[in-house]
């Protein structure tokens, strides 16, 4: 019964979404206030109905209603409640339902919070948002119905993949989708502005917070997934350049570019066409990611070809959405008049550089991700190549280095026309910091790749550069303390958010460098009471015990870790066996210190003739890895800080008509 209510709500949401496409659009064309206002109500109703459908499916999982096919395939009565709930989105149908739910929530958020939007723009945004909604709701209803019943109902479910039964992973997909799908807002605003034929600074001001919010979620979601892989997969890897990872990373790259270019639109009324294009491209990458992950094309091109219904459906959505939006762009963009001029060396120029490099990075990842698929499809399966981490590392890093180097400089340049020389002078301290970091790393960490100390230097450069910029804003040391304090308290949160986010990136780069360059690993077998050495540590297997968890049996090792100074630490890695799924997972024991993670894993046991039972033991010293997550956390914090800026929430004032560019001799105030 509950499932049928969910089904009904889903269908009703599809119908309402279809109406939401038409009514506000017509209303905007006729400037009919009633029709336009109707759009807002439908957006809220659509979100409410999808929330009801989602709740109905969640109910099915919570009470273990195995007559619902999806619940049967992805849940089990013995599973802990958290994973019963996370099982809702731990499968194709449920995750697509969550996708449209989040899409509808964003639409409803515009309807509710967008009171200060011009009514026609708001109506058109809601209409465009509903177009995406209709496409994906139709996809769910016609190819991926989550409320399909089984008759007769089975007695118990087949269980959720044990790897997915983890708190980190329970919250990873919702965050990721909030980011992924959140970029639909920027897309809808872009398309609505193209239809409207008007893009001004106010438009930039409306788009920025939505983009920022999506970016914060996506950053958090990617980091959470990476962290999960790190501690759950049992060998400390955290990024694999897997196509599915790339699918979420490409929207992130474009989204980051969009975040920066929308600043230029808001502050300088410039780069408007480009920002619109970026908004379209960012969401296109989200759609492409959905296609890659949901069509099965990654598993095998042949599997895709043999059961193409879902894949073709999403591919059509992708082509129509992207093709339609780009055609509209080609048609309308020439009517968008560019705003203020700016010199190549200027804040705008630096942001353009950021955009170009991020676009290049994204294009490279896209090429590497799609190339094997395209080659295989084009050659009919005869020609297959692999594009793996060595390719991405070789192409991605050279793009990132100049980008990171430039991040320190950009914010120090004035709008319109900057002074590179003055910025370089200010950055002397950062140069010293970078040099110091290189030298210290060389001395402190002998061995390892020759480039690693330079990467640490780059991180120090960025961190110090961010601090220099922050210091110069509040006139630290160059004005009386009281004056600095006054400036500090008056500093816009968006500006502080930028500093924090850039610092986070610096921390993350240090983490990436350390984790990739100086890892130590020990792989051996130990009997109880035996020890092994790794760097300055001695690892002793003290005991192994067996036990039962809620829905698994475990084997838990007790390791005594002794460092050079004689300090000791006990570690308890586990191996878990899930009888329902017939699978084993590892639970690494991780001790996080300031500079490194100590990471212990216990493997299978073997009986050796001479030494009795021995366990496979893996012990890793992962330097700087904690900085990776810390960096991501700080970046998210920077985004949230910026998002809390009042200026993002108050109504954007309509700017006075700008004077003709270049006529007014007064330089623009540097913010």
């Amino acid at each position: 019964m509950i499932a049928e209510i969910g089904q009904f709500a889903l269908l009703l949401a599809l119908i309402i979404a279809a109406a939401q496409v038409v009514v506000p659009m017509v209303g905007a064309a006729r400037t009919d206030a009633t029709l336009m206002a109707f759009g807002s109500r439908m957006a809220v109703a659509q979100a409410a109905l999808l929330a009801a459908a989602f709740a109905a499916l969640t109910y099915g999982f919570v009470v273990s209603d195995f007559s619902v096919s999806v619940v049967f395939q992805n849940s089990h009565s013995l599973k802990p409640m958290l994973y019963k709930v996370s099982g809702v989105w731990g499968n194709h149908e449920g995750s697509m339902l969550m996708w449209v739910l989040i899409l509808a929530i964003f639409g409803a958020a515009v309807a509710v919070f967008g009171r200060n939007l011009p009514p026609t723009l708001k109506a058109r945004v809601l209409s465009v948002q509903a177009m995406i909604g209709v496409a994906f709701l139709a996809f769910i209803v016609f190819t991926s119905n989550p409320f399909m019943r089984l008759d007769p109902a089975p007695f118990d479910g087949t269980g959720l993949n044990p790897l997915l039964q983890d708190p980190g992973l329970a919250f990873h997909p919702p965050l990721l989708y909030l980011g992924y799908v959140g970029f639909s807002m920027a897309f809808s605003f872009a398309v609505a502005a193209l239809i409207e034929g008007r893009v001004d600074a106010a438009w930039g001001r409306w788009v920025r917070p939505w983009t920022l919010a999506a970016w914060v979620f996506l950053t958090g979601g990617i980091a959470l997934g990476s962290w999960w892989a790190y501690y759950e997969l049992g060998w400390g890897g955290w990024w694999f350049w897997d196509p599915v990872e790339n699918a979420s990373f490409m929207p992130w790259l474009f989204g980051t570019a969009l975040l920066h270019s929308s600043i230029v639109v808001e502050k300088r009324d410039s780069l408007k066409s480009w920002t619109i294009l970026l908004a379209i491209l960012t969401f296109s990458m989200s759609l492409l990611g959905t296609f890659l992950v949901r069509s099965g094309v990654l598993t095998s091109v042949h599997a895709f070809a043999s059961d193409p219904a879902r894949g073709i459906f999403i591919l059509i959505i992708l082509l129509v959405t992207v093709g339609g939006a780009l055609s509209l762009f080609a048609w309308r963009a020439p009517t968008i008049r560019g705003g203020g001029l700016f010199a190549p060396v200027s804040r705008e120029g630096a942001l353009v550089l950021n955009n170009l490099l991020l676009t290049l990075a994204c294009a490279t990842v896209l090429l590497g991700t799609l190339y094997p698929l395209i080659l295989e499809a084009a050659s009919g399966g005869a020609s297959r190549v692999s594009v793996g981490p060595p390719y991405f590392n070789a192409t991605f890093a050279p793009i990132m280095v100049p980008l990171v180097a430039a991040i320190a400089i950009g914010p120090l340049l004035a709008w319109k026309r900057g002074n590179l020389k003055a910025a370089t002078v200010k950055l002397r301290i950062a140069g010293v910091a970078a040099g110091g970091a290189i030298v210290i790393t060389f001395i402190a960490v002998p061995g390892g790749p020759i480039l690693a100390p330079f990467a640490m230097g780059l991180a120090a450069w960025l961190a110090a550069g961010a601090m220099v910029e922050w210091g110069s804003r509040i006139k630290l040391f160059s004005a009386p303390v009281a004056e600095s304090w006054r400036r500090l308290t008056g500093l816009p949160r968006a500006a502080s958010g930028m500093t924090v986010a850039h610092l986070g990136l610096a921390i993350m780069i240090a983490g990436i460098t350390g984790a990739s360059a100086w890892r130590t690993e020990l792989i051996t077998t130990l009997a109880i009471g035996e020890s092994a050495q790794a760097q300055n540590y001695s690892l002793t297997l003290q005991a192994v015990e067996n036990g039962r968890g809620p829905n698994y049996n475990f084997e838990r090792g007790t390791f005594l870790l002794t460092d050079r100074d004689g300090d000791t630490l006990l570690m308890y890695p586990e191996r878990r066996f899930f009888p329902v799924a017939g699978q084993t997972t590892t639970e690494a024991a991780i001790k996080t210190t300031l500079l490194a993670d100590l990471y212990a894993v216990i493997g299978e046991s073997r009986s050796a003739q001479d030494a009795g039972q021995k366990w496979t033991v893996r012990f890793f010293i992962n330097p700087m890895v904690p900085w990776l997550w810390l960096g991501a956390f700080v970046m998210v914090g920077g985004g949230l800080l910026s998002l809390s800026d009042r200026r993002h929430r108050v109504g954007a004032p309509r700017r006075k008509q700008r004077p003709v560019p270049g006529v007014s001799g007064a330089p623009a105030p540097a913010e």
């Binding site: 890897g237 196509p243 692999s386």
Partner: protein
């Protein structure tokens, strides 16, 4: 981050093929490790660039599939037999095809893959250069009012000609003409001001 969805796809694919036997991603087993640490280090480095041929985008260093183990053992055999790194990789390619290389080779069917990024970088650099040139031109032009579009220019010329054709106000016509021509004269653009405002 082999995230959620990846795992979903991977596990579906691999378990369908009946390849999952042990725990996830516990790759190199202690009994595989070579006694010579130098050889072992080389083997590990090679393992990172060779693909487990039945896995979804995993190197044999990361994969716990049986075939990955076999491939790791073959790599070690070759190294122990005295092969260089290149010879070992060539041996694996001869056995498993280009597909085994995680760093695709530079050859006709992967040309676009390797030429693509530098090519795109060049396009972007060219665009940046064009922008720079355009800026310089506009900056020079920005000392005077916005240049006329060809349409404006034509309208203006027509207007001037029309006024010039009126015989009754000769003085006013010449004055107007001088007045209208004045701003363009200052940029030296003469007859076709909008096309070439800078020089």
């Amino acid at each position: 981050m082999r995230h959620f969805l990846a795992i979903f796809a991977i596990v579906a694919a691999i378990s369908a093929a009946g390849l999952v036997t042990g725990s996830p991603a516990l790759a190199v087993e202690p009994d595989e490790v070579l006694a010579d640490p130098v050889l072992e280090a080389r083997a590990r480095e090679l393992s990172k660039v060779l693909r487990c041929v039945v896995c979804q985008n995993q190197s044999i260093d990361d994969s716990n599939a049986d075939i990955a183990r076999d491939m790791r053992l073959i790599v070690r055999e070759r190294l122990v037999a005295g092969d260089t790194d290149d010879q070992t990789v060539a041996y694996m390619v001869a056995r498993y095809g280009d597909y085994v290389l995680l760093r695709p080779p530079f050859q006709p069917n992967t040309m676009a893959l390797w030429v693509g990024p530098p090519f795109m970088a060049m396009i972007i650099a060219t665009l940046a250069l064009l922008f720079f040139r355009m800026y310089q031109r506009e900056r020079v032009a920005s000392g005077s009012p916005e240049p006329l579009t060809p349409t404006d220019r034509a309208q203006l010329d027509a207007l001037v000609d029309k006024l010039a054709a009126e015989p009754r106000r000769p003085r006013r016509q010449s004055g107007l003409r001088a007045e209208l021509e004045q701003p363009f004269g200052s940029t030296g653009s003469g007859g076709n001001g909008s096309d070439n405002p800078a020089t």
